[in-house]
Symmetry: C2
Subunit: 425 residues, 2 copies
Amino acid sequence: MELKSWLASADAPHSGFPLQNLPYGVFASGSEDHIGVAIGDQILDLRACARSGIFDGLPQAIVRACEAPVLNPLMALGTTSWSTLRRRLTSLLDAQAGREIQRRVETHLVSMSGAVMRLPAAIGDYTDFYASIDHATRVGEQFRPTNPLLPNYKYVPIGYHGRASSIVVSGGTIRRPHGQIKPPEDPPVFAPTQSLDYELEVGLFVGPGNPLGQPIPIAAAEDHIFGLCLVNDWSARDIQSWEYQPLGPFLGKSFSTTLSPWVVPLEALAPYRVPEFARPAVDPAPLPYLQSPAPDRAAIDLTLEVYLESNRMRQAHVAPHLLGRSNLRHLYWSLAQMVTHHSSNGCNLRPGDLLATGTVSCPDPGSEGCLLELRRNPEPVRLPTGEQRRFLEDGDRVTLRAYCQQAGSPRIGFGECSGTIAGPA
Amino acid sequence: MELKSWLASADAPHSGFPLQNLPYGVFASGSEDHIGVAIGDQILDLRACARSGIFDGLPQAIVRACEAPVLNPLMALGTTSWSTLRRRLTSLLDAQAGREIQRRVETHLVSMSGAVMRLPAAIGDYTDFYASIDHATRVGEQFRPTNPLLPNYKYVPIGYHGRASSIVVSGGTIRRPHGQIKPPEDPPVFAPTQSLDYELEVGLFVGPGNPLGQPIPIAAAEDHIFGLCLVNDWSARDIQSWEYQPLGPFLGKSFSTTLSPWVVPLEALAPYRVPEFARPAVDPAPLPYLQSPAPDRAAIDLTLEVYLESNRMRQAHVAPHLLGRSNLRHLYWSLAQMVTHHSSNGCNLRPGDLLATGTVSCPDPGSEGCLLELRRNPEPVRLPTGEQRRFLEDGDRVTLRAYCQQAGSPRIGFGECSGTIAGPA
């Protein structure tokens, strides 16, 4: 029998937050921040639940973690605790729950439309990978036309450390950064970027960490993944291309990174697991430490979309324009491979650390996860208003969305990851 | 009249911690961590001072910051508060202080030799620069023989994000990391690094931060620097050289970074300020946003040393062997330029963030800050035991030291930054 909530909005078509999802987030409640779970158009306030006795019988560590102002303590508890809490939340919100339970739970629901969301966790370290071979190839063509895909790509899950301090939650403005820009024939100038871009990415939050010096074997990697969110790794391409040699991207990225507020538990994505990326026969097999113990379900069938809305579109009430539709299943390197590779030198991951995939693109046109890839096309992007885009303009609002969908099941949504470009300071 | 402490050990030759220094650190006190100040061979327990009333009359924010288990709250207060606290500490420890003050202060002294030191701050983000042109040139020769110094170097203070989680305090062991290593003619293998190296660096701790989107102008940059410490940016050169294209160093660095426990206030270094690096006439001037308002004192005359002690040397009681002696004054980019460049795109720095210089080398032989640079020499490093080194062996203990010294003044020391290589897990 299909799981259904007593909350009608949870079953609205395309709600994205049915009983099968139950993503975690943090929202402002007066002067405090509370953990909540999204259900339909509501947020269930977990701190209120914890304090009201609705969680009685759950282990104390879980109840205490639900009272925290960030998800880090819950992330640290691990899969058994996550499953225990998820079962309790499911039973509380299930249509089979009694009238009395429903009445008690209802008092702890908060309307999502009026809620102010926070970052889900205190992010200690943020790492960005480069796991889409289609993205790596197309971007490589722009920076190194003769040498797009470097020889290490098919062996190493390439990644780099990102900036944690400038990660912000969906919904704000992104100020166009200044930086050094190098005209082809002249010395560099310090000016606002003229090639501001988005990157459509998925992030994973680390659950339990590993001690320094103790790598995480690939068979255990998914036990260290709490859940997934959307990441927009805003990029200033002109700053990036001048600065990135030899130590990698720095100020071209660190001015801001936007996260969606909801973290979808890995458990909610179990029905959408698919086989790992099928490497062409000419490609090398991953080195043994990166070989998945369950290649049949190493990837996730998660549709990703990016939309643009310009100032003029907003004024004319034109719906946001789809710029790209991609899918996480096309990643060359899986989430588990990222976790294991990251810790393979003994580097310690901590609860609440964020690992992002890098831009997720697919082989086919229309799947590009950033504007830089679209520059291959002879024509710029054309918006419904007739406006053209090579890069983002002030006033542009970029929104990432994602969902898992199967015939006969409700959609598992990720909510929105959006930001609006503001002019330079 | 020369400042002198009533504590005799503060004036011992080469104590490094005279009354003119007063560096801050964090030490374990029972089950708690306390802030302390190094003086001679003792640590003054600032939490104990704060609670005893010795700080009466100081602003409450300063007293509270002294009770914290990390330096972040004190770092956040800014230069006026730092100076106020420093004046009080100086007067308490001054030979001119009365017998009664001395008696009260003495009860809060802890022997340095028995103290367990902690990291000085909770480090939100760690950034590593590449500010020594001599290092950049010599390393560039190894990775890009035809193209050692890239065209951006003399315009951009090159830096990259490092890993904060694996920063450890001086004194522990560093486990030799595994990683992908690429033999010239064969596919990569996953194995313990065979080219483990140290990097002799200086780190600065950020004081007050800047809000996201609000760059720090160069004239204000030093107000955001709390103080300096030593940094050993351990590096696995074989892992690094295979992975670093195109996104920069990652696992070749992130297995561990070691910090010295004492943070020397910028104020203590004021007598050792010297003119900024004299760029050759053919070099471009820094872009205006990077031009120092006080070029006559933009650099610091700080001597840096790195020593190696092998297992055999330790057993034979042979003194550690000097591998390199360098000086911070040779940096191509100043500390203020690093702060301003880092925030120039609006990136927010936070109190307790760590910015490191990158390896500090000078033009002359004998000043190399890492073993990779010494590979230019036809002969490997020869230790007093007759042992040879191209890279670090298990059991090797690397110690960084630093000091400012002027005729007639006591030496301003930085303490030790050390780590001992342990075999792979």
